[in-house]
Symmetry: C2
Subunit: 307 residues, 2 copies
């Protein structure tokens, strides 16, 4: 097997870019990439690693997919369209070239699905395998930020919650299931939905750290959000697993994170849009401060690194 | 001492951003940053680590400076102006908050020097301290790429070569000197010069991997570059050190890397610019294929990761 150590950085980069064509004005291979641009630039960066993000069963191409998808999700949460991706890959010198190529295949697969150009990157030696992605998105209107929710707005979510948590716990128990694996290993960023809600939503955030964190961030200062647990779009398999392992569905949906949906607020008169994009009302913005679920305060607790 | 493990990701990010103000339309703290934009977008990413980039004596704030500077240098090599920086910081959970803050202080210092906005980032747990920087640059005219040199063009360089190598070797010998440390720990990206040469230069690249790699990349297919070693702007301290350690100056200037100058080609009738920006002619583009120094072929060998 060819190892990165034997090939050296330049040959590694050549292999990774083999057969890639770029629509960019200047693509990978020069000092920097150059893109024609219109409107605002939206930018975000997020790193994924096998140690920090890979439950048992996660493959190298899944890691690559994640590195792209988590960034596209952040771009989507601004109501923007992802256009370009840069990836910094760090790997031990003993890593096989085929392993790094597998990571890259996942990156490229996600780029293809969302019509995003891989515009550049860097490849360096390090203690563990890490992929740091940076996405650039375009936005012609005003950005959709975390601030802007108003009293009386509905709170909605683009998809089913708790599946990543259920997938993780099911794996731990040795009883993985397809929907859980899909949510854990191949999250689908809500790019289409982000663009669809942009002109209507008053605030938005992605649920990567869990719904609870979103609700606390989206809540306007001095006001509150009430959520009714029966309205939460929790997948039936999450409820089934919940009974089997004794962890409440609500815990999985609220605090585990990893779901990569969009949680957003919008004026009630715009609620017709929700059916169109397949989103669900989960609560509303009220005058009583704090975030409650079925009348009980909800902890501002979610996925946190370093802990 | 407060450790990242005790604080958790959200508190760590809050501390890192304390007192920072942003000119961006949306700065750090939302899902992504948003910038007003005009012209092309130029983007690059580069990761630095204590294990890969830190000779003895390098401080944490130097690592932060490097993460910004190496990216600004790539932006400069395209003739663009760096406008925004994103930094992904990876650190072991046992890392002290003050250590991460020291890294960030170096990042911010470099941003201030070059009037670049820190627009976003990510902070995650990992096996070793790494900073992955992504810079965005603006460019109103056409980009200055590595291709475009023509037979008859002069080859020039913006600054003294071999200082990073000399600094490294001097450190190894226990006899560090200021100019060497400066080149090693606080490289100064040639942002001003990149913009000044943009409309005149035919091709450009930064010398981060060594001058030899640049010359081989800038050489037009089927043609050559001749360099005269007496024309190379090698610092007198590099020559002194060369005698002391028995490593030729040419080796340090050509193959060690780490100098972060710009090497570029330009038509001879534009050579007046060189005095204005303080650049030196080091050779010319000729019809005989290959790269030679004083008539001898020059190896296409430079700094390479993984080896």
């Amino acid at each position: 097997m060819e190892r990165l150590r034997d090939l050296g950085e330049r040959a590694v980069i050549e292999r990774l870019l083999e057969g890639q064509r770029s629509r960019a004005l200047v693509g990978p291979g020069d000092d920097a990439a150059v893109l024609e641009w219109k409107g605002h630039v939206v930018a975000c960066t997020d790193v994924v690693s096998m140690s920090g993000h890979a439950p048992a069963g996660m493959g190298l191409s899944d890691l690559g997919w994640m590195a792209a998808a988590v960034n596209f999700s952040d771009i989507a949460a601004m109501g923007a369209r992802p256009e370009g991706l840069l990836t910094c890959m760090i790997a031990p010198p003993e890593t096989g070239m085929d392993e790094l190529s597998a990571v890259m295949s996942g990156v490229l697969e996600c780029c293809r699905e969302f019509d995003v150009e891989l515009i550049g990157g860097d490849t360096k030696a390090g203690a563990e395998l890490l992929v740091c992605g940076t996405a650039l998105g375009s936005l012609e209107g005003p950005p959709l930020t975390r601030t802007g929710a108003m009293r009386g707005d509905l709170v909605a979510d683009t998809g089913e919650l708790g599946l990543a948590a259920a997938g993780f716990h099911a794996r731990e128990m040795g009883t993985p299931f397809d929907e859980g694996d899909q949510a854990l290993f191949r999250p689908w960023p809500r790019v289409r939905e982000g663009i669809q809600i942009r002109d209507v939503a008053s605030a938005c955030m992605d649920t990567s750290d869990g719904l609870a964190v979103c609700l606390h961030r989206l809540r306007p200062p001095g006001e509150g959000i009430v959520v009714h647990s029966h309205q939460l779009p929790v997948h039936s398999l999450v409820n089934e697993l919940s009974l089997a392992i004794g962890t409440p569905s609500l815990e999985m949906a609220m605090h585990f994170g990893g779901d990569y949906q969009l949680t957003f607020t919008l004026p009630p008169e715009c609620s017709d849009l929700l059916d169109v994009i397949g989103a669900t009302v989960i609560g509303e913005v009220v005058s009583t401060p704090g975030v409650t679920v079925d009348g009980r305060p909800l902890d501002d607790r979610g996925w946190e690194h370093f802990r």
